[in-house]
Amino acid sequence: MDADPPGLDTFLLAQEPFYTPVGNEVALFEAAFQEKVPLMLKGPTGCGKTRFVEHMAWRLGRPLITIACHEDMTAADLVGRYLLDAEGTVWRDGPLTQAVRFGAICYLDEIVEARQDTTVVIHPLTDERRVLPLDKRNEALIAHPDFFLVISYNPGYQSAVKDLKESTKQRFAALDFTYAEAAREADIVAREAGVAREVAEKLVRIAAASRNLGHRVLEEGASTRTLIRAGKLIARGIGAAEACDMAIVAPLTDDADTRGALRSVVAACL
C-alpha cells in the first residue's frame, strides 16, 4: 500500500548557495541542528532567511524540503492523504511526512500565512516526542534522527488575525535576522547582481533611506532582494533610475506622494 520511499536526493543542494554571515548565525544553527531544537527565523522580507536555510542545508549535507505556507493549506497538504487510483486507495506522504520519515530539513516559509489550526500538526514534532501522528493511517511516525524543522516568521506582518499561537511560538528557538550593514550589503548586492561596487553602494543607500520610512508610511523598506533585482536590471544595461523605479519604487507603494518621495530619494542617491 505504501508508495516507494522517494529518494530525497532531489532535495539535496548541489551547489553552495551564496551566503554572507552577518553574525554568529551559522554556529547557532549548527548547534540547534545537533540538539534538534526547532528554529524560527525572524526578520523582514528579503533579508536572506530562505537563502540562509539553503546555505545551512548544503553545509550540513541534508536535503531541504521547503513549503510555502498559504491560507488554504490544510493539515493534509502537510501530512499526506489517501489518493484514489484504479487499484484502490494509495497513501501519499505529504512533504512534512517525507522530511520526518527520511530525515530532511523541513522549512515552513512564512508560517503565519497558514491557518492556526493547520500549524498545530507540527506540535508533536517540536517537543521531546518528535513524532508525527498520521491518524488516517493509524500510525505515529517517529522522526528520523536527522529531521530538523525550521520556520520563518515576519514580525512586520503581525496583526490580530495573522499571528502564531503562543503555544506554537514557544516551541521554537529564534534567530533574529535583519539587513546586513551597509558595507556588507553592498558586497552582497555587487556579487549577486554582478554590478560594480559603487553602483551597489548607491543602491544600498537608497534602501537605507527607504527603511527610514518603514513602519510609518511603508510597511517595510526596500529589501536586499529588491536591491539585487535592481542591480541585475542595471547590469543588463537599463538606466539606473529606471531600474530602481521598476524594481524598488513601484513595488513598494502605490501612494503618489510616497512614490514621489522615493523617486527623489533615488535621484538624490544616484
Binding site: 484514489l84 533611506a209 527610514n212 506622494d257 514621489g260 527623489s264 538624490a268 544616484l270
Partner: protein, 765 residues
C-alpha cells in the same frame, strides 16, 4: 532698400496712407506724429506692411479713439519696431480699436500706460499683443471692468504671465457674471478671492501639494520629518529656520518659474541638511551683519557639501537653482550669489579676486575638517573684513539670500550671545526675536482629539468664543471650476451639557421600534465572502471532502455527506459615520407632536445608535452647522472609540443654530471616517434643507461644492448617503448625493422608525 521704402511711403499717391494723411492735415499735431510714425514703420515693414498699417491706423481714427490713444500706440510702436512683425502690429491696432469701442478712449489710454511701461526696446511684442487681446476680450464681455482694472493692471501683469492673466479675467467674469459692483471689486483687487486667485495663478507655488511627499523625503534621507508652516507676510520672502520649525513664505517673488516641485524639494532638503549637520548655533558676539550673512552663506555651502557626499543627487538638485552667471558686478547681492554658486559648483569660474580668495579659504577649511563648524566663522571674519576694505557697502535690510531655496540664515545664530555694544545687528536681532514669537504663535493647536475621559472636563470649561481648529478644507467653486485650497475652517465645539433623561424616556417609549431594528441589524451580513468547507449543500464540490467520501465508500465506511463548499458573506465589517445637520431650520416644529426637527432626528440617532451598539458596528456621530467659511461648527456627539452611553447626554444637548455648509461637513466627516479599518465605510448625512451659509449668495455654489465633496469621498472608497427631511431637502439631496443614494423622509416624524431601517437597507445592498 530702406531709403526706397521710405520714399515710397512718403510719395505713393494711391497709397492707403495718403487718404488718411490728407485727412489728418486738418489736425497739425496728429499730422506730424503720423508722418514720423509712417516713415518709421515704412523703414521696418516696407511698402506692403505700410498699407495694412495705415488701414489699421485709419480704422482706429475713425473709431473716435482720440489723438492721445493713437499717439500712445505710435510711441509703443517706436519701441517695438526692430523686433515686432507686421502681423503683431496689426493685432495691436485691432485690439486697441476693440478696447476703444467698448471701454472708451480714456480707459484705453489708462490701460496702455502700464502696458507700455513694461516694454523693452526691441521687444517682439508678442506678450503685449496677447495681453491687449485679453483686455479686448474682457472689454467685449464686461466693459465696466476695465476702468477699475486700469489702476491695478501693472500689479496684475507683474504677478501673472499673459495666459494666466486672461484666465484671471475669465475667473472674475465667471465669479460675478451679473453683479457689476462686485465685479468692479474683483478687478480692483479688493475682493479677497481675486487676490487668492492671483496668487494661485501666479505659478502655482503653493507648498501644500508637495508637503506630504517632501516630509517623507526628508524622513527617508535624514531620518527626521520637518515641521513646516507657511506664513503670508509682506517682506517675508525666504525660508527661515526657527527652532525645529521651517517657516515658508506664502510667496517667493523672485522665483524660477515652472519647477515648483524641484524648488520645494531643494528648500526642504536644504533645511534638513542644517538639522543634520549644523550641530550648534553660531554665537553672534561682535560680528557685523555682513559677517553674519557670510557665516550663513559658508555654513549653507558646508552642510550641502556634507549631504552631497552621501547623496550626490542633492548636489545636482541645488545646483539647478544657482543660475547666476560670472560677471564683474561688485554689489554685495551679486558677489554673494556668485560666491554661493562658486562654492556649490566646482565647474563655475568667476574672475573676481574676492570670490577666488573666499573660495580658496573655504576649500582649505573644508578639506582640513569638514565637520568642524568653527572654520566657517573664521573665514567669514576674514572675507567680511576684505569686503569692507573694498568699500562695498552691505545693506542688511535689502539683502536677500540667493538662491531663493536657501533659508535666510537668522535661525543659525544664538541671539542671546550678542555683544551689547554691537548696534549694527540690533535690527536683525529684532527680526530673529520676531520669528521666535511667530514660532510660538504658529505652534499648532493640540492635534490630538480630547480623550474620552475629557468629556466631563470639556463640559466644565467655560464656553469659548471660538472652537479649536479641526482642519482646513478646500471648497469647490463651480463657476471657477477649481478647488479653492484651504478655503474653509472647520472648528470643533465642545458639546453642551444637558440632561438626557427626557431623551432616554422617549427612547424607552419607542421600544417596539428598537426591537424591530435590532432584529433587522442582526440579519444584515456584509463582509467579504469567505469559503465555507464541508457543507451539506453549496455551489461547488469540496474536493478534499469528496475525496474522503469516496475513500470511505471504498473502505466500506459510512461517508460524510458534507462534500460541498460555498462562499458566504459572514460577519459584519462596516463602520458608520453620521452627520447630523443642526442648523437653525431644525428648530422648526414637526407634525402635531410639536417636537422640533432636531429633537426628532436626535431620537432617530438614539435608536440607531442603540441598535448599532448591540450589533457592534463601529459608529460615530457629528453634528454640524456653519457661520461663514471661517467657522464651520462641528460638535462630536460620539466618537468611534467610545461607548454609546457616553454619547446620550451630548445627543440630548444639541441645539439648533446657524446655517448649513454641507460640503465642508462632508469633507470633515470623510476625513474622520476614512481611517476606519473596515471593509465598508458608510457616511450618512441627515439634513433638512439645501446647503446655505451667511457669506454665500450664489444658491448653486454650496450645493455644487457638496456634490463635489460627495464625489471626492466616494473616490476614497466611502459610501455616502443622504437622508432628506422634508420635500425641499429631498430635491437638494437628490442633486448632491444622486437619486439612488438619497432617501427622502417626507414626514419627519417617521424618521425614528425609518433611519435605522434605511441604514440596514443601504448596507446590505
Amino acid at each position: 532698400m530702406r531709403a526706397l521704402a521710405a520714399s515710397e511711403g512718403e510719395a505713393g499717391p494711391d497709397d492707403a496712407g495718403a487718404a488718411l494723411e490728407r485727412l489728418l492735415r486738418g489736425r497739425p499735431a496728429l499730422h506730424a506724429g503720423f508722418l514720423a510714425a509712417r516713415a518709421h514703420v515704412g523703414r521696418h515693414l516696407g511698402a506692403a506692411g505700410l498699407a495694412g498699417w495705415a488701414e489699421d491706423v485709419g480704422a482706429l481714427y475713425h473709431a473716435n479713439a482720440g489723438p492721445a490713444v493713437i499717439e500712445a500706440l505710435w510711441d509703443v510702436e517706436r519701441r517695438l519696431l526692430p523686433g515686432a512683425g507686421a502681423a503683431t502690429l496689426a493685432e495691436l491696432w485691432q485690439a486697441a480699436r476693440a478696447l476703444c469701442r467698448h471701454a472708451g478712449s480714456r480707459t484705453t489710454l489708462a490701460l496702455l500706460a502700464p502696458l507700455g511701461a513694461r516694454l523693452v526696446y526691441g521687444d517682439d511684442g508678442r506678450e503685449l499683443a496677447t495681453r491687449l487681446a485679453a483686455l479686448a476680450g474682457l472689454a467685449g464681455r464686461a466693459p465696466d471692468a476695465l476702468a477699475p482694472l486700469a489702476g491695478v493692471l501693472a500689479r496684475v501683469m507683474e504677478a501673472l504671465p499673459p495666459e494666466a492673466m486672461a484666465q484671471w479675467f475669465a475667473d472674475g467674469l465667471a465669479r460675478h457674471p451679473a453683479d457689476r459692483r462686485r465685479r468692479a471689486a474683483w478687478f480692483r483687487l479688493e475682493d479677497k478671492l481675486a487676490l487668492r486667485r492671483l496668487d494661485d495663478l501666479a505659478g502655482g507655488l503653493r507648498f501644500a501639494p508637495h508637503e506630504e511627499r517632501l516630509k517623507q523625503l526628508a524622513q527617508a534621507l535624514f531620518g527626521a520629518e520637518p515641521e513646516v508652516r507657511v506664513l503670508a507676510e509682506p517682506g517675508f520672502v525666504r525660508p527661515r529656520l526657527a527652532g525645529g520649525l521651517l517657516l515658508l513664505p506664502a510667496r517667493f517673488p523672485d522665483l524660477p518659474a515652472g519647477d515648483a516641485a524641484g524648488f520645494f524639494e531643494a528648500v526642504v532638503t536644504h533645511a534638513a541638511c542644517h538639522r543634520a549637520f549644523t550641530r550648534e548655533c553660531f554665537a553672534v558676539g561682535r560680528m557685523k551683519p555682513v559677517q553674519l550673512a557670510l557665516v550663513a552663506l559658508f555654513e549653507d555651502a558646508r552642510v550641502e557639501r556634507l549631504a552631497a557626499r552621501r547623496y550626490p543627487g542633492l548636489g545636482r538638485l541645488w545646483r539647478r537653482f544657482h543660475t547666476v552667471e560670472a560677471s564683474p558686478a561688485q554689489t554685495v547681492g551679486a558677489l554673494f550669489a556668485r560666491l554661493a554658486r562658486a562654492l556649490a559648483d566646482p565647474a563655475f569660474h568667476d574672475g573676481d579676486g574676492w570670490i577666488a580668495k573666499a573660495r580658496g579659504l573655504f576649500e582649505r577649511g573644508f578639506a582640513e575638517d569638514a565637520e568642524r563648524q568653527g572654520f566657517v566663522t573664521e573665514i567669514a571674519r576674514i572675507v567680511g573684513h576684505d569686503l569692507g576694505q573694498l568699500r562695498i557697502p552691505f545693506d542688511a535690510k535689502a539683502y536677500r539670500v540667493a538662491p531663493a531655496y536657501r533659508d535666510d540664515g537668522l535661525g543659525l545664530f544664538d541671539w542671546d550671545e550678542t555683544d551689547p555694544a554691537n548696534d549694527d545687528v540690533l535690527e536683525l536681532m529684532i527680526e530673529a526675536a520676531r520669528l521666535r514669537q511667530e514660532e510660538v504663535d504658529a505652534a499648532p493647536p493640540d492635534p490630538s482629539p480630547p480623550e474620552p475621559a475629557a468629556g466631563a472636563r470639556l463640559r466644565a470649561a467655560p464656553p469659548r468664543e471660538e472652537g479649536t481648529v479641526a482642519g482646513l478644507y478646500p471648497e469647490w467653486d463651480h463657476r471657477l471650476r477649481t478647488e479653492l485650497a484651504d478655503h474653509v475652517t472647520v472648528r470643533l465645539y465642545p458639546p453642551a451639557a444637558a440632561g438626557s433623561t427626557a431623551l432616554a424616556a422617549r427612547l424607552d417609549a419607542a421600544g417596539a421600534v428598537a426591537a424591530r431594528l435590532d432584529a433587522l441589524m442582526r440579519r444584515a451580513r456584509l463582509d467579504r465572502p469567505s469559503r465555507l468547507r464541508r457543507q451539506l449543500e453549496g455551489e461547488e464540490i469540496d474536493l478534499e471532502a469528496a475525496q474522503e467520501a469516496m475513500l470511505a465508500r471504498r473502505l466500506g465506511e459510512l461517508p460524510d455527506p458534507r462534500i460541498h463548499a460555498l462562499k458566504r458573506r459572514q460577519g459584519r465589517d462596516v463602520s458608520l459615520l453620521l452627520l447630523l445637520d443642526v442648523s437653525q431650520s431644525t428648530a422648526d416644529p414637526v407634525g402635531r407632536s410639536g417636537e422640533s426637527v432636531l429633537s426628532t432626528a436626535a431620537l432617530a440617532v438614539g435608536l440607531l445608535g442603540a441598535a448599532l451598539d448591540g450589533v457592534g458596528d463601529p459608529f460615530a456621530a457629528l453634528a454640524f452647522a456653519s457661520n461663514g467659511r471661517e467657522d464651520v461648527r462641528v460638535t462630536t456627539v460620539k466618537r468611534f472609540a467610545e461607548r454609546w452611553d457616553a454619547a446620550l447626554p451630548r445627543l440630548a444637548g444639541l441645539a439648533p443654530a446657524y446655517s448649513t455648509r454641507l460640503g465642508a461637513a462632508i469633507r470633515h466627516g470623510a476625513a474622520e471616517l476614512a481611517p476606519q479599518p473596515t471593509h465598508r465605510r458608510v457616511l450618512v448625512v441627515v439634513t433638512d434643507g439645501e446647503p446655505s451659509d451667511v457669506d454665500v449668495e450664489d444658491g448653486a455654489y454650496l450645493a455644487e461644492d457638496a456634490r463635489r465633496a460627495v464625489a471626492v469621498a466616494r473616490g476614497q472608497g466611502l459610501d455616502v448617503f443622504g437622508v432628506a427631511l422634508g420635500p425641499a431637502a429631498d430635491r437638494a439631496c437628490a442633486d448632491i448625493f444622486g437619486r439612488r443614494n438619497s432617501f427622502p423622509v417626507a414626514r419627519v416624524e417617521e424618521l425614528p422608525a425609518r433611519l435605522a431601517a434605511l441604514y440596514f437597507q443601504l448596507t446590505v445592498r
